[in-house]
Symmetry: D3
Subunit: 135 residues, 6 copies
């Protein structure tokens, strides 16, 4: 059984490589390289896999999952600058792909401690694109 | 090839164990244990797997699938109390997980008789959480 | 300028008149008269009208509005039985129309005290129907 | 007859008054005052009012409307920093309310030149709040 | 009080004036003038205005409204060719605007006979554009 | 890592076998066999699988993917008649299943040339049904 929790956060970011000049960054990353930042309403889906408990009928308690996502992900990302303020993204390109990997690493261990297994991080950047990461 | 049909139903439920008192139920199930019931607009996605017919271009006739879902699931759940009125949920905790398993068992055989295979039950309880069951 | 806040709540209800028998209630209210209750994920849109403050750029502080909606509406309705547990719905048919009027009466005065004016209550019961009330 | 065009753009912003210190800004604007910016996927609905042409069956040609929105609004806002890069927002608080007023002023005259009348700017900042401005 | 019913239908159409040649039609109507047709999933919102009945808590019985929309609109439009098969669109350009006017005329009188008043027809052609008609 | 691009197109189609008469086609395909066509707003999700590049943080450049989808799929399908105008659907039943297979064949090779792998075509015909094809 898989169970999924949907959360949202808003953040600023910029796609660029510091060792490239603005022209090169613009060529590769387009408008997303704007040095003055832009931002998104990200939608995050955290999917967890586990057995259904006979006692509760749950894979895991969704309120616990929600608290973990809040503490390990949303507190760090919501209303933040992904490039400059998020500890687990330091030194990485702030792409949706890298952000999904970073979120996976934040949640993998805490979800294990709830007795379940992280199955998938799905992260939507706009209504036209999203990524899925399975660890 | 997978083909999915989306349906909706509205129902009341309550999460609780009858052998526990109200305090214990409240502690484990939170607001969902309210003895006076609450309810949801459930969204159900039934995904079927099969070969595409040369004759019809279909995995299966969606109208037939829709009739089966109506007869075996919606007639029993729509505008009902899941805890007290749904035969296939008797004696089970009315969690989204258990409801998805119950719906799978209702549909598995009838879909086989259409010449296809049930692949997945996805059931959304609110816009913030859903479960997926693969049998 | 109008500003709108979207909130959600889940509740059980039943449409019936106690002085009618079950047949008459079924005839008028259909499946919604089920004596064992059913429920919905309601979506509520509260629209407020006011001037944009030069100091804040806001019609009103959305966090304040959100707190008011929570205290006067969501705390009373979320995960509740509309017919039996909601003080401001006592003695009223639990239709979407009456619920919208009840919510208006809950919010009208508190929003005035924020220096703005309640303009509209929009309440969706399912994805197929909603009501709008302008006071 | 009213006709509405929906567009989207992504931008960074910050809510703050430069003459206030960070504590005061945080108190009034909350997380939205983060000095390192955050951002949103904005959804813009431009509603135009006019007569239906006998010749075309249109209030106005939607492709023309789309080009005008692109030239006067999206080119200036998409993937930009609203506080520092958008000419028509200079010196204004970057609230959704002020942004809707700014967009109205950008579009009012060009839509008149198409022979129609701007009726409403609706601007969604997140899935939980939007503003509507009627001029 | 306003109450709205949402319905969907699928249809083919083409925008063109028979007295114009293909080049002129292409110039004015773009891809929508394709002589081989194209089509849409239309979403229709019918908004009705009336008093809330003390007896039922309803403005009007939504099942009655739904039957009227089905009989006077959906039976004529769903899975049809708007240009050639829909009686109330004969001799008219199959634009969203004209379709909304046609639907209004179909529903105005039957809704009066239910004791309410048609307030608005909202018709979405794609996720990027819709029209609203108030009679 | 999987990355998905969402696109939309509008098209007309008809489900029928030319060697069957209208009664037989109506029996098997229902309203979808209407000889005068009907149509849909299709929503297409193209999912690509690949490694995240250290240099760009991308699986692949979404603008390149978008251009490929436009050239090989949307230019051929948008505002077209699927039965009579789409080269890669000639001689095939215009079902959603066959359309998904056709789109897969259009995109498989060009995506390989971008250094990634096509993982899934998801195609929604209406809000009530979609297909998924994995090659």
């Amino acid at each position: 059984m898989h169970i999924t929790r949907r959360e949202t956060f808003n953040a600023a970011h910029r796609l660029f490589r510091p060792e490239w000049n603005d022209e090169k960054n613009l060529e590769v990353f387009g408008k997303c390289s704007n040095p003055n930042w832009h931002g998104h309403n990200y939608t995050l889906y955290v999917t967890v896999e586990g057995k259904v408990s006979d006692e509760t009928g749950f894979v895991l308690n969704l309120k616990m999952l929600s608290k973990i996502i809040d503490a390990f992900v949303l507190q760090k990302l919501d209303h933040k600058n992904i490039n400059t303020e998020v500890d687990f993204m330091q030194g990485k390109l702030a792409s949706t792909e890298n952000l999904a990997i970073g979120i996976w690493k934040q949640l993998d261990q805490p979800i294990k401690e709830l007795g379940a297994r992280l199955h998938r991080i799905k992260l939507e950047e706009t209504e036209k694109n999203y990524v899925e990461y399975y660890g």
